[in-house]
């Protein structure tokens, strides 16, 4: 072989190698420069994925940490029939493929048994089908015929985790699932009107769920990464990751057991009297913390869709009633506070009219005829004429000012919203008789919570507080991020006046009082009965009443304020007075609360009045 021939061959080889390199280079230029955008788009569609990580909604707890609302995962089970086909097609061995198919069929039969479905229905769901899409979207299988593989056939919704675990253990090919969080309320209807609920779309509708949505909701996160051919995430290709932030927990001041006691009592009231509505509120006077707030009618939070809208209202704040005789604490408290009268001051309550500012005014009727009564007796006997004379003694403006101080005519600042202001007109808009009627709780309207908080002010040394229904907000790790402390709204009367009035209210359950027999020995019940005629078609009805019993105990060391209000009780003899329809429930609830909250009876040596020391604030 000549040397020149060998050189030629080497040159040819070198050119060939260079040409190959050049071809590779050109292809690379096409891939990376010319077709870059198109190819990147394809990769993006085929491999890139953004997975949203849903934040867990915070829980709602009672003051003792019992769960009132939480989120439970539920699984939606579906079938990707094409995944099964592809799995079987991977195996080229005919015999082995058939064995695999038989094995999968047996598993599907087990799946049917777990789901309580027929095998035929399951097999139908596993039949691969094509679905129609817009041709512009049909780019996945290479042909733009408007048909793509249907990879999602829903089998069952709302599966719980244990059931799903059993299904997952079967390892059925082609099964796919989606996990969602559904709100659940472990206590059913307990405190339903306070907690509120989330509807099917996950929108908070009422109560704490709605008003604390900002805290409860949390923030969803997301992960940008790539997936493999089997749609599994390739974690090494995660490019961006924003972690989800779980929602905060909301701790209510409600005590589940207290709430349960109130709701059981309401159930009894409903069974006995079938009222239009009824509500019971229990709170701590020194902090304004609501321990329980129950309304009738109510509903089951887990079946909210079946509850009528009327049952979903929190009557304690959404409805107004005339307070009736419970409003007499305003006139009595104001007169005592200004030093116009003492408990022993006497008034003639037998008169039928009185001269006020140069005009003779007709005084309201009494339930029983009275003669001369002291202020203490006006309170204990609930004298309408006595209360009117007390108000006249101080004048319309002063009386109105005190009523406002008690919180009437303004919202209480209830944290769950839905509250109405009530009606309290200024003296300029009063008619001639209002000064005689308002002191007995007519010509004024208030929510049950307003009346409750007014009584609570007496129990708290004259300090009117904002009702607290939220105790604190905790983050997902249990750290307290916000605490709600007692909030004073006004000093209604002097602490000494409050203590004096508390003693007078204790007389209501005494032998001469309107609620004789409803005291609990050793616990000094201080309360006021109330019976108001309802206004039907613009007139006071003689058959429809609102009966109430509002009070606190022990009178000299108030620990619990309790209100029972029954609207339009159906009583056979028509005597639906506060004493008959509300006082027995008050006593029954108080007896249970004394035991549950371990309230000590008042000892002779501890009769130093907390109210006299000015209460907590």
């Amino acid at each position: 072989m000549s040397k020149g021939y060998a050189n030629n061959r080497l040159t040819l080889l070198a050119v060939g190698v260079l040409a190959c390199f050049l071809a590779v280079g050109v292809r690379l230029v096409f891939l990376h420069v010319v077709d870059r955008e198109e190819l990147l788009g394809y990769v993006d569609r085929a491999r890139r994925q953004i997975v949203v990580e849903h934040a867990r909604r915070g829980t709602i707890l009672d003051s003792r940490g019992s769960l009132l609302a939480t989120s439970r995962s539920e699984i939606t089970l579906a079938v990707d029939p094409w995944a099964l086909v592809e799995y079987l097609e991977l195996d080229r061995n005919e015999a082995r493929r058939e064995a695999k198919a038989r094995e999968q069929q047996a598993k599907r039969a087990q799946l049917a048994a777990i789901l309580g479905m027929s095998v035929a229905d399951i097999e139908k769901a596993f039949q691969p089908v094509m679905k129609q899409v817009r041709p512009s979207l049909d780019q996945k299988d290479g042909t733009a015929d408007g048909l793509v593989k249907d990879r999602w056939t829903k089998l069952r919704e709302g599966l719980d985790e244990p059931t799903f675990d059993r299904i997952a253990a079967l390892n059925v090919r082609g099964l796919t699932h989606e996990r969602i969080y559904r709100r659940t309320y472990p206590s059913g209807g307990l405190a339903a009107n306070l907690i509120g609920y989330l509807n099917k779309e996950g929108t908070a509708v009422t109560g704490a769920e709605r008003h604390f949505e900002l805290y409860l909701k949390g923030e969803d996160g997301w992960i940008e990464s790539e997936k493999d051919g089997a749609r599994r995430e390739l974690a090494q290709f995660r490019s961006r990751e924003v972690p989800a932030r779980d929602g905060h927990d909301v701790v209510l001041t409600i005590d589940s057991v207290v709430q349960h006691i109130l709701e059981e009592e309401l159930r009894t009231i409903a069974g006995k009297f079938n009222p239009h509505f009824a509500t019971i509120i229990a709170s701590e006077p020194r902090t304004g913390r609501i321990l329980g707030m129950a309304s009738y009618p109510s509903f089951d939070l887990n079946n909210y869709s079946k509850a009528p809208l009327d049952a979903q209202r929190n009557y304690a704040v959404t409805d107004i009633i005339e307070p009736g005789s419970t409003f007499k604490i305003v006139a009595a408290g104001a007169a005592l506070d200004q030093g116009l009268v003492s408990p022993a001051s006497a008034f003639d309550c037998g008169i039928t009219s009185i001269n006020f500012q140069g005009r003779d005014l007709k005084l309201p009727k009494e339930d029983h005829p009275f003669g001369t009564l002291t202020v203490a007796e006006i309170v204990s006997h609930s004298s309408n004429r006595g209360a009117a004379q007390l108000a006249m003694l101080m004048g319309a403006q002063k009386f109105y000012d005190y009523a406002k101080l008690y919180g009437f005519g303004a919202t209480t600042g209830f944290q769950l919203g839905g509250e109405v202001r009530g009606i309290l007109e200024p003296p300029s808009r009063w008619d001639g008789l209002t000064i005689t009627r308002m002191p007995m709780g007519h010509a004024v309207a208030a929510t049950p919570l307003q009346i409750h908080m007014a009584m609570s002010a007496i129990a708290n040394g004259g300090a009117l507080l904002r009702p607290q229904v939220i105790q604190e907000i905790r983050d997902a790790d249990g750290r307290v991020v916000r605490r709600f402390d007692p909030e004073k709204r006004a000093q209604v009367v002097k602490p000494s006046t409050a203590a004096l009035l508390a003693r007078l209210l204790h007389g209501v359950v005494g032998p001469e009082g309107t609620a004789d027999g409803f005291d609990i020995p050793g616990f000094e019940i201080a309360a006021k009965t109330g019976t108001t005629q309802k206004i039907i078609d613009g007139k006071y009805s003689n058959t429809h009443y609102v009966g109430s019993f509002i009070g606190f105990f022990p009178a000299s060391r108030p620990e619990i304020v309790l209100s029972v209000i029954v609207d339009d009780a159906q009583v056979p003899d028509g005597k639906n007075y506060g004493r008959a329809v509300a006082a027995p429930s008050f006593k029954h609830v108080a007896e249970q609360l004394i035991q549950y909250l371990d309230i000590k009876p008042v000892q002779s040596y501890s009769r130093n009045l907390v109210a006299m020391q000015g209460g907590a604030l």
Binding site: D160, P186, G522, Q595
Partner: protein, 138 residues
């Protein structure tokens, strides 16, 4: 001086090329190994995250079940089903103790220990069955 022969130079070039190839190959293999490790670590990390999420989910599930089981109404039902006849005590059933309950119990126990009837000569040779208790008065 005589220049080195051309074959020596070629040999050096070949040697250097080989070394470069080995070095580059090692680098390449190292990069592949590193990517593999990154991939495995990422997958392990994801698996751990999934387990954590799963544990949290199961914890929530369990908490909800516990809450359902111990809510007042469910407990009352249990009370009826199991015929326990448990009920809230009434004030008349409650005996309030003004002095320290602990002190009272210790006094009662010590009274039993030092009771004359229970003492006997036979017990002198064996350790006492009861141990006297004391309590600090606060």
């Amino acid at each position: 001086m005589k220049p080195p022969p051309a074959s020596n130079l070629i040999n050096r070039v070949i040697l250097l090329t080989l070394m470069l190839l080995v070095f580059t190959g090692t680098l390449g293999l190292g990069a592949v190994w590193m990517r593999q490790e990154i991939s495995q670590t990422a997958n392990r990390s994801r698996a751990l995250e999934d387990r954590l999420t799963d544990a949290q989910r199961r914890l929530d599930e369990l908490s909800a079940e516990v809450a359902t089981a111990v809510n007042p109404r469910a407990l009352l039902r249990q009370n009826e089903t199991m015929r326990l006849a448990l009920s809230t005590p009434r004030e008349t059933q409650v005996q309030r103790v003004a002095v320290s309950a602990e002190l009272k119990l210790v006094q009662k126990r010590n009274l039993e220990v030092f009771r004359v009837e229970t003492a006997s000569f036979a017990s002198l040779n064996r350790p006492p069955e009861h141990r006297p208790l004391t309590v600090s008065l606060q």
